[in-house]
Symmetry: C2
Subunit: 144 residues, 2 copies
DNA sequence: GCAGAAATTTAAATGAGTAACAGGAATTTG
DNA sequence: CAAATTCCTGTTACTCATTTAAATTTCTGC
């Protein structure tokens, strides 16, 4: 969080109240939050935000690399290491809803190569693996 | 299309009128179609379908591996080789909107491995690369 | 303090997807 | 063939997600 502030300072962009509020919620929550989750939670603290407020804040955070959007579940997570731009991968557990962000070197290389054969220039890769996390796998085998 | 029919026959599932209509539209269109695009187009031929009709047909096609959903743009494409289940990757051009489906061996391996380190079991990988296709890249450099 | 830019609020519309329930066609089973 | 079951379709209405447009406020540099 302090890191986020100093980053914005360096870049000369403003981390305003609602932007900070949204980022805080995302970082505190272990699970990804949808835009409407954020809306509901912020209704209690800030002065009655409407959808555009949230979406603008989210757009800002995404641009600055402070948050990520998970396309396959329409939800957002805070980024844990926003200091360098990066293309992460997300492991999304369908049972408990938790998400792990990883950055696999060889996977990134493969991604780069995948398009090259046909001259495709990748700008933003979306890699989201839907499945079951270690904890939930263990719970399942226990039950049987 | 004939392939789709014989596949459904083998599996003992029914490729009904509206399912076939949706699949035809997807296969004919070079670009992905959103559920509402399909809705508009089918309004002219079929008898006034409502959203659930489309979504049910799409669900069926997805289950049978006859179509794919592109999560990052909320659109659907017909699958070109539905005979074996597979985990494809999609290259989506942000300029012209065209989509190429590829299946990269080493990429698939990397995907498998990415989760293993932390015991994550991948069920359905979503890999969509947003970028610029060869044609559109060429057009851009021409202009400058 | 003031002009201009950036950010926010408000209201309203569109796009995406789902729930619930009633009605029909098709296939099985007696 | 008729009854029972299942699967597919139609309709209405709703929720969630996202964007547009316009009016207003807040901030920053001069």
């Amino acid at each position: 969080m302090a890191l986020a502030e100093s980053l914005c300072d360096e870049r000369g962009v403003r981390l305003t109240l609602q932007r900070k509020a949204v980022l805080e919620l995302l970082l505190e929550s272990e699970k990804p939050l949808s835009a409407y989750d954020l809306l509901d939670q912020l209704r209690q603290t800030l002065n009655k935000p409407a959808p555009p407020t949230i979406y603008r804040a989210l757009d800002f955070l995404l641009e600055q690399g402070l948050a990520h959007k998970l396309e396959s579940i329409h939800a957002y997570v805070g980024c844990l290491h926003p200091e360098h731009p990066h293309a992460g991968q997300f492991l999304i557990c369908g049972d408990c809803g938790e998400v792990a962000e990883v950055e696999d070197k060889s996977l990134n290389e493969s991604l780069d190569n995948a398009g090259k054969a046909i001259g495709f220039k990748t700008i933003h890769p979306v890699v989201e693996l839907m499945g079951t996390c270690a904890d939930c796998s263990a719970k399942k085998t226990e039950q049987n």
